[in-house]
Amino acid sequence: MEKNGAQLIVEALKKEGVKVIFGFPGGAVIPIFDVLFNDPDIHVVLTRHEQAAVHAADGYARSTGKTGVCLVTSGPGATNTVTGIATANFDSVPLVCLTGQVPRNMIGNDAFQEADIVGITRPITKNNYIITDRAELGRTLKEAFYIASTGRPGPVLIDFPKDILNAKLNDSYPESVSIRGYNPVIKGHPGQIKKAAETLHKAKKPLFYVGGGIHIAGAVDVFRKVVKKTGIPVISSLMGIGALATDDPLNLGMIGMHGTYPGNMAVTECDLILGIGTRFDDRATGKLSEFAPHARIVHIDIDPASIARNVAVEIPIVGDARQVLEELLPQVKQSQIDGWIKQVKEWQQAHPLKIEEGNIRLSPSRIVHTISEVFPDAIIATEVGQNQMWAALFYNYKHTRSLLTSGGLGTMGYGFPAAIGAQVANPDKTVIDIAGDGSIQMNIQELATAVQEELPVIVAILNNGYLGMVRQWQEMFFDKRYSSTCLNRRPSCPPGCKHPGENCLVYNPDFIKLAQAYDAIGLRVSKTEEIKPALVEAGKSKNRPVLIDFLIEYEANVWPMVPPGGANSDMLLGEGR
């Protein structure tokens, strides 16, 4: 049967099992939206900004493991996706991003709403394409879905000139694809795995160090078995959180700039690190020359380019984390490391993470801790900054894929649309975006999307009136010169102001009124005893988003902190500690 390009695209989406796409229409893609009109199989979530469409597809993908799909128009529609695509690329999220393009005969003519989106996104996609021949459409779509979801996943962009969407051909979506330049290594080398098991057993102070790859590979179940069998303690990167329950006695927590005391001490003193699906990123390693100075390193990763890039690796294992760990499991045994475990426990007891109560306003760590009590099985999304670190440190994660956060790129404005995508994918779960009053405003317009889609996403704003993380750095390293970080500052404010005072704006904006304007539920919390009731109240909403404005300490800081460029063991633990 003859079909036009747009029809083939929708056929492809269905054959790939796509149930939801996130998008925003425009002139160049009307033919695709037309085919999707009233389609019973594919739901289109209309976001209010293309960046949010990509983040939502990303949240959908991270929370499920399925490939997220977004669809936008040419020119500005396409360029608005850039931050979303770069975010997904950095954190290895499978996305297929479909962009419209001007008709082929107008490409290069500076036509209306033309942008070279393939050129623009080349360094931030796993691969990208422009379709120049209608006959290539089906194969390219198949390749895109295959590449996005296999190996180290990532975003793939396809650009469709408008005339391709209208061009008819008697073809169908191919069943299979073979790409001669793309054959990811899945199975780890058996000899290397054997060596890893032996090294693990010999070590006196071993650690597992897990990253986001462990979730992507679906390796959390088998990893927990390996941990149970060996009794070896675990540290994680931000992206690895959830691989082991936060409150598991063997979980020493996150390492790095805002890592835990036991985590950072253990990584500094250990004699072996078995890294799984992690890049040994600079925020985690701290000063490289003093990172794990006594450790031999075994590294499992599906991406050869991530191995031995930042740290010297003695036993590299290229492969899928789940497959490698399944091979490893029968070869490991209980480690005889009583002395090490005792040492680790001492660190845990010496400086556990501490909820610091607020002086005048609310404590952010208390709020996140209460969120954990009220919603123990939630999917947590975060923005970027202090809110992200408090969410990482003070929520008790139990499940894989339960923390959605922009780890690599560090994108403010990620959390709320990602939470929307996650809620669409997980209608029965509680999805909470832990946000700051700065970052939430980078995609606040998505309240309209959440209301329209009847999604009960909870947005917990930790409102301190500042761009808090930068303010924290300014407090610590720039003599409290709060340059452009006060969100309430007006021209009439005294120069060099270092503290909020009576004459300051109370809210900017008034988030409750804003929520109400969108017909979302808005709750303001300013007393500690109101935290829990507000969360319980929010949990009752079944089809409306709830925004809770928590008024927190203006100058609360995230502790511990390793000053930038410092070694992980040189942590500042907080005032008076």
């Binding site: 330049g181 031995a308 890039r309």
Partner: protein
């Protein structure tokens, strides 16, 4: 250290931009890059010369290998290879100087492609070092213009690289 990397790549739109972008985006040092057809019309060969310490070269190769359009990559450094570069050199030459230049050209097996009233164009092929040497000698004349091709290389022996 300088490495010569030879790649077979899909003859797709944008492959060259992808490779060039990788080098600029990750601040790798690219000395030369040549692209040309192979005996298979769907495949092109790219030969590139890059510089860096062992870790950087290792990363360059790994990052290139991640590109979907790269079918096969071989680091020719340390292998038995032949490599060639071509240079066109236009120099000022009075009729009196011509004979002398012919002689120098002969030593380097350079060809005289064009002779004008007061200039001439020479073509020389060979290893990069040989071309460097030739240029050194020609420095005593007035070099008006020069074009170098970048390196192409191939491993010796019967084995096909695909």
């Amino acid at each position: 250290m300088t490495h010569v990397i030879s790649m077979l790549v899909e003859n797709h739109q944008g492959v060259l931009a992808r490779i060039a972008g990788l080098f600029s985006g990750r601040a790798y040092n690219l000395e030369s890059l040549t692209v040309g057809a192979t005996n298979d019309s769907s495949v092109s060969r790219i030969t590139l010369v890059c510089k860096g310490d062992d870790n950087v070269i290792e990363q360059i190769k790994k990052q290139l290998n991640k590109l979907i359009d790269i079918i096969k990559l071989v680091d020719l450094t340390g292998l038995q290879t032949v490599h060639r570069e071509l240079a066109l050199i236009k120099i000022a030459a009075t009729p009196a100087q011509r004979g002398e230049i012919f002689q120098v050209a002969d030593v380097f097996r350079a060809k005289v492609l064009d002779v004008g009233l007061d200039n001439m164009i020479l073509e020389v092929t060979g290893s990069s070092e040989k071309i460097d040497d030739f240029l050194l000698i020609l420095q005593s004349y007035n070099i008006l213009e020069m074009a170098r091709s970048g390196l192409v290389a191939m491993e010796r022996g019967k084995k096909a690289k695909k």
